[in-house]
């Protein structure tokens, strides 16, 4: 089976998939890809299952050499990418031949870029998934000389492109009230939704710090609550009333109060926000939240049908992101969900 050999690698690159839902009782949070939409996009571009594992690259990619012919797709935060020195399109699938070198540089926007292999990455399964869960010491970051083996590739066309949702520039995060929201006074919750936040300097796969000017958002009786279950998207207030949005690799329980929960469909926007990116919160009711999520889920289901052949030879294009991928219809910067 073909594989990708790692010749050079960024500091925070790991194998990720859908993670490990269903193991909270054992203290294992679900983890998995920080931007699940990118997994769906990569799977669609390679016409394969979104349950397969891919390489998640935080901020910086690496240099990889193919040991045999293999298909790849690139999704998530757009990164500089070359195949044997020729620029490649992001949000697209490509063919690699044995000995060819793929060089992925820094993220131009967003945080997490993804490299998908035809057949997925066939690494060891740990507690039911291939995803590294760095916080619990499950798996590790990818290192030089690692071999990323392809699983059984069903094969298929390459050279497909996709106009991806732009979730790399922050914006409004829809949030629903939850079981600890009433620990916060109504006025505090209102003030929370009026504040302009920026992503702070502390961020990883567990959570993202938000900073703002002005008073914090303390709960009443903040330090005395019992540790309670954490769900992805929970917005936790630390002792000084500073919000952290917790992501899928957060610990399973926590003692800091949560003001509410960001909708799953807006979590890629949180994970992909670079430091300094502006974010705001927008309270929605549970019914509104369910409707928004259902609409988003339907959009995700439609991604395979929106993958189209790249109209120009990507090897001849200097920077495909500057072009319209699908003539006259949409550009890579258009938000199809808007």
């Amino acid at each position: 089976m073909s594989a990708l050999k790692v010749l050079r690698i960024g500091p925070l690159v790991s194998i990720q998939d859908q993670g490990r839902p269903g193991q909270l009782q054992q203290g294992v949070s679900r983890g998995g890809a920080a931007d699940l939409l990118a997994l769906a996009e990569g799977a669609a571009l390679l016409r394969q299952s979104a349950d397969l594992a891919a390489l998640e690259m935080a901020g910086m990619g690496g240099l990889f050499e193919a040991t045999g012919p293999l298909r790849i797709a690139l999704t998530g935060a757009p990164m500089q990418v070359c195949l044997d020195g020729e620029f490649l399109a992001w949000n697209a699938s490509h063919q690699m031949q044995a000995g060819q070198r793929l060089e992925i540089g820094a993220a131009r926007r967003g945080v997490y870029g993804y490299l998908h292999l035809g057949g997925g990455i066939d690494s060891a399964v740990m507690l039911g998934a291939r995803a590294a869960h760095l916080m619990s010491g499950l798996g590790r970051t990818v290192a030089v000389d690692d071999l990323l083996p392809c699983g059984q590739d069903q094969g298929g066309e390459t050279g497909l492109g996709l106009s991806a949702e732009d979730r790399f520039q922050g914006g409004d995060l829809r949030i629903v009230a939850g079981f600890q929201s009433d620990l916060f006074a109504k006025k505090v919750r209102e003030r929370f939704a009026e504040r302009d936040f920026r992503r702070g300097s502390r961020a990883n796969r567990m959570g993202v710090e938000l900073v703002s000017d002005g008073a914090g958002f303390a709960a009443e009786g903040q330090l005395n609550i019992l540790s309670e279950i954490i769900v992805p998207g929970d917005v936790q207030m630390t002792g000084d009333g500073k919000p952290f949005v917790l992501l899928r690799e957060a610990q399973t329980t926590g003692g800091y109060p949560r003001i509410g929960t960001v909708l799953p469909c807006d979590l890629p926007r949180v994970a992909q926000a670079q430091a300094g990116t502006e974010l705001r919160f927008d309270w929605v009711t549970l019914e509104e939240g369910l409707a928004l999520q259902a609409r988003y889920d339907a959009q995700v289901k439609s991604i395979p049908g929106r993958c189209m052949p790249l109209l120009r030879d990507p090897a001849l294009m200097q920077d495909l992101l500057a072009y319209q991928l699908i003539s006259g219809a949409v550009s890579a910067d258009t938000d199809p969900f808007a």
Partner: protein, 244 residues
Amino acid sequence: MKFPIIRTAGLDGMLVTFSDALSEASNRATLAFCEALKARAWPGVQEVSTSLASVFLRFDVNALRHEALQEKLWDLLSQQDWLQAPLPGGRRLWQVPTVFGTELAPQLGEAADAAGLSEAQAIESLGTARVRVLTIGFAPGQPYLGPLGVEWNLPRQTELTPQVPVGALVLAISQLVLFATTAPTGWRHVGQTGFRSFQLESQDPIALRAGDEMIFTPVSRSDYDRFCAEDSRFGGASREEIPA
């Protein structure tokens, strides 16, 4: 607030809470109610788990409406007094050789001081306590144990201990945590065991289950070293089924 209460968690979670304070009875109710939910296996319920005094359900919102799930939960809650429910079956008692104090667990002295006990009294108290795995959480396989007596209701330290090793027994707020990984903590390091709650390579990577019981038997440093050398997974701990 009148308990139990049912509240939502995110878009697809529901939380049944038996108390806003930790007690033996509220934790027992939590474990018993969780077991009853697992036995019923309602269509649409994707996951059931417990925290100290709550049961969490994750469900498929397309298969089960929030109102319908709440109704089913209230119906089940009303079928018995869950605070009087017996603990579920299938639990185990673990007896774990433990060094209290010494340079292996350097905060026994200050914890004893804070509890108003001598070190000998503290070892007697902690070394004979039969504690329950109240919940597993924070990290894979990591147990929260208790409840201990009120004398052990010590606040967390304001300064974090930068690192405690795997197998460290730490104490705060009338609970013990047996660390499953190497990590910083605000709890006081009072004992050290050779018990690994989580070991990926083994057949049963997560050793403990909520509801199990543990006794941390005081041993000498030389016995501890011998147990660790002979049994790298559990540090000489014994395990027996608790009769239903």
